[in-house]
Amino acid sequence: MNPTEIPAAGIPWSEAIAALDGGSAPPPAITDAQPLLRHWHPDHSAGGPRRLAVGASAGQDCPAALADLLQADALIDDIDIAGCATVSTEVLVIGGGGAGCIAALTAAEAGAKVLLTTKLGLGDSNTVMAEGGIQCAVGAEDSLQTHFEDTLRGGQMAGDRALVAALVGDGPASVRWLIERGMTFDMEEGQGPSGRLRRKRAGGTRVPRILSFRDVTGLEMMRVLREAAGLHPRITVWNRSPVVELLSDETGGCVGAVIYSLHLHRFVLIRARSVVMATGGAGRLHLNGFPTSNHLGATADGLVLAYRMGARLREPDSFQYHPTGIAWPPALRGQLISEAARSLGATLVNGHGHRFVDELSPRDVVAAAILRECGEGRGVLRDGCVGVLLDTPALERARPGILKTTLVTLCHLAHKAGIDPAREPVPVYPTLHYQNGGIAIGTDGGTEVPGLYCAGEVSGGIHGRNRLMGNALLELVGFGRRAGAAAAAFQPVRPSGRANLGHVQEWRRALVAAGLPLDVKAPVLFPPIAGFDLAADRALGRSDLSARSLEAALQVL
């Protein structure tokens, strides 16, 4: 079944509300989730994965829409960058989310001169949107080993053990690093700043391990990181400057990138000793027609560029559909309702008022179960939007005041939707949320391409086939630091080599040899809704800008 074919059949809103009694029986236990996942999870959708024909991961499957981009031609040619302004830096960081800022800070603290270039404004990213929190095994009943095993199991045993061990092992030091930079974490009720950290339980984990700041953990993290990066004397930030291609030397190493300045309407070349790719995820590709929780810039650019240069992919066919995107109204469809609601005890019920899955199962299982309910006609319909119900009124009855004090973001979203969550349930439907796989990395964030490092959601191997809540934020701190340190220390074999589009020429030969079309171009930079057309935008550039005004303009980017 293809989940894009949203069933028109379902139970009308009013009937479903009437069926809601709040005292619903426990859900049926699932002993083996595999059949459910195979039948209902969008990774296995009928539209079908496509097998990659070129590149370092040829032979691997991935969603067709992504495959098109991974096997596309470059946006630019030599002619486009002839005579472009060039700037130099030691470490180039691509992407201004959490991973990018942390890599930049770490590299700069190691003494490197860093240029951070990002597509939107610094911090406008998936990171700032994270609500639930960050995993870190600090509990007395918890251990690094438990966290390690939960992560590996949650990822269906597909994760790279060394990477997972690095992730969880870094956890406590990562949280300390964040606090040292001024990030606040909630403490247990009644405890002062030297008491115990407040912990929540995430789906798929055995003990409460999520640390958070209210339900705006990503906001708290991102504003601290943005300020720290912005104030660091060795970091230069370029906003509105998406990378459109990487630069290679004769050995195939990565030695910089080409950015397109939305401010100047022209390309600028950046030469660097090493490059950290931190461009985040792919939600805005709306794979399989799903809504997404991601920010506007999540278009898989880094994945495409690194792959074109020879980096290998892991689990490129595995995506996380967060079970609880808001299902209605249409203008808000896809926006996230954090797992915190379920961690605190909110249940999911179908149109008959029945629970149908353990709400704290791994996300892929909960999402698949919701799709099953909707696919088999037990979903709830409101203005043509299908979903199931998150029973917030029952939660409020059980723990009065909890919505207002702890689920601020949920209330805010519900308010925008015109729903009072204390009295009305919130309709939910899975939303494309996270790229489980990505570019294959080592424990230092290094890829197969010399000089190219990756950190954050763009990289793969840690979460296997399903990421646990809170492990993405943890990853971007730990691996942001690892990649930043390694990039600062990296010494190229031939330091003064060329920097050009040599790898693109090779790539084109491969595309032609594989019989693939050259008329698909990538990365896409912006989703269609943004209405961005690179060619039209370039036509706005003035050729008569003096070198000096150009330089001055680059300073204020």
């Binding site: 700032v128 095994a137 080993q145 269906q156 040292e180 930079r181 990030m183 606040t184 912006f526 943004a530």
Partner: protein, 211 residues
């Protein structure tokens, strides 16, 4: 359909649409002044909004504001503080000198003229002025709490005639409070267990899917 004007372009969209989505249909490229697209947390979509029949013009985050008939909307660029209020991580750790540092890094803070422009400008309804005044009088923790839900949209930066950069001051207070005072006992114990070698990971130990 709801009709409105955004940066001089007419838009006609169904009711319930947000201003940001309406802008897209009006042919405005969403390449700047937008980030999270609706969650209202990145602060990129600052706008001035005048509603029909209202003399007042208000600030808003366009991704969370539904369209209304006859609305006029102008997006606002991010206004950077007139000068950076620079400090480094080492400034954050010593609680005894935190107040000195607030005064040294944000000398403008004591000059608040109580115009309330920041309060009126804040799309999140924070008591910005109070936060500024708390920080300026040494109540760092109090100031920090005021800015709990600040999305750093910088509207208060643009609004403040004394160039105080209220949100950056608030963030400084937050960072001072966290870095200077937060010392979680459980985290410290776990760090000790790790550095002393008492807690390790056996990466080969787990082989089964079910716990």
């Amino acid at each position: 359909m709801v009709n409105l004007t955004i940066d001089g372009r007419p838009a006609s969209v169904p009711e319930g649409t947000t201003i940001v989505l309406a802008a897209a249909t009006a042919g405005i490229a969403l390449t700047t002044n937008v980030g999270c697209m609706g969650q209202g947390v990145c602060g990129a979509c600052r706008a001035l909004v005048r509603r029909t029949g209202e003399p007042e013009v208000r600030t808003a985050l366009a991704c969370e504001t539904p369209v209304e008939d006859g609305m006029q909307v102008s997006f606002l660029d991010r206004v950077a503080p007139r000068r950076p209020h620079a400090y480094s991580e080492t400034d954050l750790v010593d609680g005894w000198t935190a107040y000195e540092r607030v005064l040294a890094v944000f000398p403008e803070a004591v000059r608040c003229r109580h115009c309330s422009g920041c309060d009126r400008a804040c799309p999140k309804g924070l008591e910005v002025q109070k936060g500024v005044n708390l920080a300026a009088s040494g109540d760092i923790a109090g100031a920090a709490a005021v800015f709990d839900l600040c999305v750093m949209c910088n509207l208060c930066v643009a609004a403040c005639p004394e160039h105080i950069a209220p949100n950056h001051l608030g963030l400084f207070a937050r960072r001072l409070a966290a870095a200077g005072t937060q010392r979680p006992a459980d985290l410290i114990r776990r760090l000790h267990e790790i550095t002393s070698g008492a807690m390790t990971i056996d990466a080969d130990a787990c082989t089964d899917k079910q716990p």
